[in-house]
Symmetry: C2
């Protein structure tokens, strides 16, 4: 390896480590920076009102002129969803396979179209020069077509990032994972492997997507009424299999839900989704007039999302499609952790209507897109890396990956457990942590990017728990001090006030007490008076109700 000036390669995860979501990896060597992916993450429950979370890219903005390109592994939201916010700030070339870029461009065009000159379609196996790096994509199998991992040939050695993958020996589109290439690189020598660790806690191997096709077919054949299948919009393989099965048994297909329509249209346009007959797709406006036993509806809503099409059908609030008794609803996805209750609600609504509901528990209508333990071992054995860096996982998954590494003879020092902003420094024979870079989360709420932070969220949490109480009073500005009007008490989200007359009277008395104690002073300290009102009333309401609403004193003076 060219070891000029003993420079080191830095690997910096700005997203996707210690968490599932918002993947963004940075590779840096002297004047060259290469970025992989730019995803979103869906907000945790306590991030009230937040729509999306993207990585903090301050470090990239500061080093923009050194960035040679952004390479994308595949078209899932947690890998491309942040790009509409990230790319306009960086204005850098982007690289990806055809379907991936098709999905990215559909997404960018909704917000700001990105200059065509910066968008580069790549083919796996064709190396691309990006500063000092030679970047080469290799095919992986995953729950979306055209997914790749990347090899970066760097001055200190080759580094491989798998991207999201499973080892599916019978992929729906016939494109196998390029295990041969991984083995060849392994023979040449690989410095470090960054590997998908999502399923590192799961023993054995994942099941091929092909099995889902067989199972769907069996269920479809049994269906009496309409079939409605909910899945992730991006699972083009599964959608292809559902379309094939429906076509075979003489059903037409209606695609509903915005993201499902987007992905299906893009995939058909680019040739990744093949329709077995012409005119097999029908618009949702025609569903009402079709015989139910001649119909398959492909829909979003597999996660019970309140506004998704299936959820609206289940609650009878979809404009065009009704679920009827005897319809079969196939939930061809598992709930992402945190969504179990929402999904359960949808299922209950469907049973209430009298539909038959098919879930993963009743047969393999969903399989994971991520590698289990034995697949991870395979990739490690093929690439024979000197060092291991688990990526795409929470701490538990990183720890699970470390155990796998240990079982293959790696010692703790050879495995880097990173956090957001960690800088892993690699030289041909050493891996160590360097100085951390700025990293974290940026919250998106409505049109606001980053204007909702810790304090605003804390306030929302308090408001969510116990509501707000506004205290209004007008006081004379100068002596003799007196209360000119009020105090009045307005509350929202606190208690059903009509039943709380005594509580309000007590609250008013408490406020008057705080005001009169200030009147005794030579000069009214308005700031102190407000905080006295707040403290005293808060204590009073806690004693009476065991609740702590937010108290906002509004004082006017004349």
């Amino acid at each position: 390896m060219h070891n000029k000036r003993a420079s080191k390669l830095s690997v910096i995860p700005l997203g996707g480590t210690g968490e599932i979501g918002k993947n963004l990896l940075v590779f840096e060597y002297e004047d060259s920076i290469v970025v992989i992916d730019g995803g979103v993450k869906f907000p945790e429950d306590e991030l009230l009102g937040i729509d999306l979370v993207i990585p903090d890219i301050t470090y990239l903005e500061k080093n923009r002129e050194r960035i040679k390109g952004l390479f994308i592994t595949h078209g899932h939201e947690d890998h491309i969803g942040g790009l509409p916010f990230i790319l306009p700030k960086l204005n850098i070339p982007i690289y990806g396979t055809r379907l991936t870029l098709g999905l990215v461009q559909a997404k960018l065009q909704e917000k700001n179209p990105y200059p065509e000159s910066l968008v580069h379609v790549i083919e796996p196996g064709e190396p691309i020069r990006a500063g000092v790096f030679e970047v080469e994509a290799f095919r992986v199998t995953h729950s979306i077509p055209d997914a790749v991992g990347y090899s970066l040939l760097t001055p200190v050695g080759r580094v491989i990032y798998t991207g999201d993958f499973k080892v599916d020996y019978t992929p729906i589109d016939g494109y196998n994972m390029d295990l041969g290439k991984l083995a060849a690189w392994g023979q040449e020598g690989v410095l470090a492997l960054l590997c998908d660790s999502t399923n590192s806690e799961r023993p054995g191997v994942t099941i091929s997507e092909k099995i889902v096709g067989k199972v769907l077919r069996e269920w479809f054949e049994r269906a009496q009424g309409k079939i409605i299948m909910a899945s992730f919009a991006s699972n083009v393989h599964r959608i292809q299999q559902a379309i094939n099965a429906a076509s075979d048994i003489g059903r037409k297909i209606c695609v509903v839900g915005r993201s499902m329509e987007n992905v299906v249209n893009t995939s058909i346009e680019l040739g990744y989704l093949k329709l077995p007959q012409e005119n097999i797709l029908i618009p949702s406006s025609e569903v009402g007039s079709m015989q139910p036993e001649k119909l398959l509806v492909l829909t979003t809503g597999s996660q019970g999302e309140p506004l998704a099409a299936l959820t609206r059908m289940a609650t009878r609030s979809h404009r065009q499609i009704n679920v009827m008794p005897g319809d079969m609803v196939v939930m061809a996805a598992t709930p992402i952790p945190g969504n179990e209750k929402l999904v359960g609600k949808t299922i209950n609504h469907l049973y209430q209507i009298g539909a038959e509901v098919v879930t993963k528990e009743m047969g393999q209508v969903h399989v994971s897109g991520h590698a289990n333990q034995e697949e991870i071992k395979l990739v490690i054995r093929l690439t024979q890396p000197r060092f291991l860096i688990p990526h795409h996982g929470e701490i538990r998954h990183q720890a699970g990956f470390r155990k796998i590494g240990q079982s293959l003879g790696y010692v703790d020092e050879d495995i880097a457990i990173t956090q957001l902003g960690s800088r892993v420094e690699l030289s041909p024979d050493r891996m160590e942590f360097g100085e951390r870079v700025e990293a974290g989360s940026v919250y998106i709420d409505g049109l606001g990017v980053g204007d909702v932070g810790y304090i605003v969220l804390k306030d929302r949490q308090q408001l969510a728990q116990d509501g707000v109480v506004v205290v209004v009073a007008a006081l004379s500005k100068s002596k003799p001090y007196k209360i000119l009007s009020g105090p009045d008490i307005i509350s929202r989200g606190f208690t059903f006030m009509k039943e709380a007359d005594a509580l309000i009277d007590g609250a008013k008395k408490d406020v008057i007490g705080s005001i009169e104690r200030q009147f005794e002073k030579d000069q009214i300290e308005w700031g102190a008076l407000k905080s006295n009102i707040r403290d005293s009333l808060s204590k009073y309401l806690w004693e009476k109700t065991r609740r702590r609403p937010m108290i906002l004193p509004v004082l006017l003076h004349y």
Copy 2:
């Protein structure tokens, strides 16, 4: 059967149907009412700020003088947790087995002690007269000792309610489920079976609790440092097995977490938990000075509850017990749907510290306490009821139970799928739905029981999403109209205001516009002015931010 005046037996679920939680069943025949259980339910996510949910017992309050008694199946929160709120309103005799009543009394004494004269310990197999009913408890196996189901011999026939059960042929305490009694009643003739349907979607049979003991023992033997085991406090069998295993390998035991301490103390006191050696329990104050390899900590927090002991240990905020690298944490429970993310967080914190975490995925450290499909079939076959009523389940579980019934030859008309407040009327040869009774949920928030309803919750949801904006202005009361002070804008939970000067200026202008349009009228309509300010400002803020904070106009006039 005595069919005088052709009266019917009514079965009315006031809780526990169409939902998991707050079980409460009512049996009514002419002047006799018998109630079974009075549980709580933990609030859904959208019930912001709500602590607990209990059944609406308006119907029982209105018919109080006809209630002959309340019978309790077992000591789980979803069967007894509502009693501190329900019993003071009814003042009726209660019946239950010894441990169950011990747990109920511990709970009642925290709030209001219940008159001893109304509390009756019963033995399975001893019939109790309650109005026209002859009530007899029979042993079931479940994840807490001393659990029973009830048979009610009524003028129209025998009705059996299983309570929560599984068929465990090797129960830890040696008390088998009384299948013989069920068979005998089946021979005599059973009118209806109300059956636990929680696991009706799961094929096969549940695994015996005994297996958990074996698996725990294996893990415990492997542990190098402290062992910390988190489980439901009420799972006395599992706690017994953990204590036995710890004792065998020479570890002392520390019990932490309020509910765990309560249950363990009550169980030891009443003889349901047996300590294999004296002085095997140590107080948490001594944990710090013990060798970690000589210690087992039994703790609450298996659901990731933010304030539970394990959660505090994992975030290093427990006063006396620290998790150290090399400690083993056994999660001897599965997350209740909805708690997956919280549990995942705790697990990640534990890995971060460097602890080994053992979950159900790595070995049978948890088994369900509810009957799977084959066990449900067994109970139906033994009791041979004329009619089936699934209880203790959401709609999906009731539908699953119906499928089981169908597989045994029951037709839809023989299976009643109830909702809260349904009245199922039974005569010796007929089951039909009668007039519904008042039923639903009562929310408990702090000291308030029922004062937080739909409007308050809607307000909390809006506040949680986008915060609150208070608009304050003082106007002259009469002509010439002018703005004496303001408008001022105060917001909380909306946006980080320091960066929003332009937004605030725009908002003020918008409010001034609304006010001045009112000034043009002959007389200011204060109500209309407030709603104009609200509508116009809401529109303005939506356009600028895509958020809808709650807007509270406060207008003073002089």
